[in-house]
């Protein structure tokens, strides 16, 4: 198990390194000079040169890459071209909105999808299954930001159970903060839950056809007992894969949802930085998002090994 974990960790580090290289290279290809963008087209050459030196743009690309990566490892994400403040600070607060939102949505999604998928698999072909399948077909087709708008219309504007937007802030207490994240999390979670429920159902149905399920029935286990004791754990393997991918989509989806709810998360920051050509911020936020995804995949890999003993045997 340890060998497996170490190999996965190595894989993670390599992925991070390559991802950082990709991001840096892509941004470097960017046409346009941030300094002239900031100072305007009529700026003097020596002012531009001074600004570039200040921003560190006069170093070679290799130097800048190493400085950036070296800084990130220490928690220093560089300095924003636009605001001249450390990027880490700018990201810090916003991260505390985007990450909890993604996690909240993931938990909701799982809580809805697992029972629905299990229910559908156990009632295969009957009314319950068809109902779940129909609901998920529609759920999968719903754009989450549109769903968010509808939720705002119904629950915030008409029913007034929630506020239409804004984030209460963690300082106001966990309950208030979570309440302001609830509608966004539901909007994110529901379409993903639909996908997850289908995967759960399909994984369970696949497992139900396996020989060892027949052995379980021959032992005297009822259908339900066989499903729960033998089927579920085997079905978790494909489900875990999807869960890992879901987190990355929830993180990305959250960025869009923020627009609907005016949440001060990474989304606003990133879109604004794009228009302002504040490439350091774009680089760092992208790196952070990718980092989160890679770490979650690492966790999923470890979870696989916990579930499936065959994986622990090989590295």
């Amino acid at each position: 198990m340890l060998r497996y974990a170490l190999k996965r960790l190595l894989s993670l580090l390599i992925s991070l390194a390559i991802a950082s290289l990709v991001i840096f290279v892509v941004i470097e290809v960017a046409p346009g000079d941030p300094a002239s963008f900031m100072l305007g087209i009529n700026a003097q050459e020596d002012t531009l040169a001074a600004l570039r030196a200040e921003l560190g743009l006069d170093q070679t690309k290799v130097q800048r890459y190493l400085a950036w990566v070296g800084g990130m490892v220490q928690g220093d994400f560089g300095t924003s071209y636009q605001y001249r403040t450390p990027v880490a600070e700018m990201i810090g607060d916003r991260l505390w909105v985007s990450l909890p939102l993604a996690l909240y949505a993931l938990i909701l999604s799982t809580l809805i999808a697992f029972p629905a998928g299990i229910f559908a698999a156990s009632r295969r072909g009957k009314a319950g299954d068809i109902g779940v399948m129909g609901a998920t077909q529609i759920g999968v087709a719903i754009p989450n930001f549109w769903f968010a708008m509808m939720l705002v219309l119904i629950f915030a504007i008409n029913l007034r159970w929630f506020s239409a937007g804004g984030f209460a802030g963690w300082d106001s207490g966990a309950f208030a903060a979570l309440k302001s994240l609830t509608l966004p999390a539901i909007a994110l979670a529901l379409p993903q839950a639909a996908i997850l429920a289908r995967v759960m159902r399909s994984a369970l149905l696949d497992v139900l056809g396996e020989d060892f399920m027949r052995t379980a029935r021959a032992k005297g286990l009822s259908r339900g007992q066989a499903l729960r004791r033998h089927g579920l754990r085997n079905a978790m393997i494909p489900v875990l894969t999807i869960l890992g991918l879901q987190f990355s989509f929830l993180l990305a989806g959250g960025i869009i949802i923020e627009q609907v709810f005016y949440l001060p998360g990474l989304g606003r920051l990133i879109f604004q930085s794009i228009s302002a050509r504040d490439l350091i911020v774009v680089e760092s936020v992208t790196m952070l998002l990718v980092f989160a995804v890679i770490v979650v995949n690492f966790a999923v890999d470890l979870a696989y090994a916990a579930v499936d003993p065959r994986l622990r045997a090989r590295t």
Binding site: I138, A141, I142, M149, L245, L289, V293
Partner: protein, 271 residues
């Protein structure tokens, strides 16, 4: 022919039909503004109502369908064009370094959700439909590579492939002559799913302003426009939303129906 296939086919065909017809006819000129007629809910004259500039929503939906379909189709094309050969190659060289490299490359791209790729590209090259296509297309490549490889591997283990090897055929020839036809069904179904995901992705990108730019119409941008007015004129959000839902639903049903009709045992990836 099963019911899912018929229903899915009908819905998809409806949307494609609307997009095609929009080239020759729409009830109104979709860019024509008529401020006095603004924010009308659906009525006899404007079947889907009007937006905040008085433009006819029905026409906008029809023309917007072109954008959504075009982006999704080309993105799927990129995914298949590059992803399928990579997947075939990886499967033919299973266990070797080619396979390893392709799989790691896949994992790397998966670490960048398509939105993140779109952000990177638009940050550099500017927003627009072409860049949206590239972003979604890039993300489709590992999906098709993975599905192709997953479908090809069990076929490589079959005895008729060994027979082809005994007949002296090399891996490239075998991949094209034997493997590809046997995974065609899988790829068709996956393509319809990626198509539907492409529609959703394009809408999301347009919503945040990274997709097709004005004056090119887009359902996603219609939703962005609707946002502040949703309490006064809910139809502005409902109409494009339903258009997206119906299109995606239709494509998904088509994919499911095809899969059941072609081979119920197909394993399709729904990422």
């Amino acid at each position: 022919m099963n019911r899912t296939l018929i229903l899915g086919g009908a819905l998809s065909a409806l949307v494609v039909f609307a997009a095609l017809v929009s080239f020759v006819w729409t009830p109104f000129e979709h860019t024509e503004m008529d401020i006095p007629a603004k924010l009308q809910p659906p009525n006899a004259l404007h079947w889907f109502g009007t937006d905040h500039f008085g433009r006819d929503m029905f026409s906008m939906i029809m023309v917007g369908a072109r954008t959504s379909i075009a982006v999704a189709v080309v993105a799927v094309g990129i995914g298949i064009g590059l992803g399928v050969p990579l997947g075939l190659w990886a499967a033919a060289r299973q266990g070797g370094w080619v396979d390893e490299v392709i799989m790691r490359g896949n994992d790397l791209i998966f670490a960048f959700p398509s939105l993140v790729i779109a952000i990177l590209i638009t940050a550099i090259f500017g927003a627009g439909a072409v860049n949206a296509i590239i972003a979604i297309g890039i993300f489709n490549i590992p999906v098709f590579a993975r599905v192709t490889r997953g479908g090809a591997l069990p076929i490589w283990a079959r005895e008729f492939i060994m027979a082809a090897r005994v007949a002296g055929k090399g891996p490239a020839r075998i991949s094209i002559e034997h493997i590809l036809p046997n995974i065609a069904n899988l790829l068709i179904v996956q393509a319809t799913i990626q198509f539907s995901l492409g529609i959703l992705a394009e809408a999301a990108l347009s919503y945040v302003g990274l997709g097709a730019q004005p004056p090119t119409p887009s359902w996603g941008r219609m939703l962005a426009d609707a946002q502040t007015l949703v309490s006064i004129a809910p139809h502005m959000a409902l109409v494009p939303g339903c258009a997206i839902i119906i299109t995606v639903l239709g494509l998904n049903l088509l994919g499911d129906g095809l899969r059941d009709a072609l081979d119920p045992r197909l394993r399709v990836a729904r990422v």
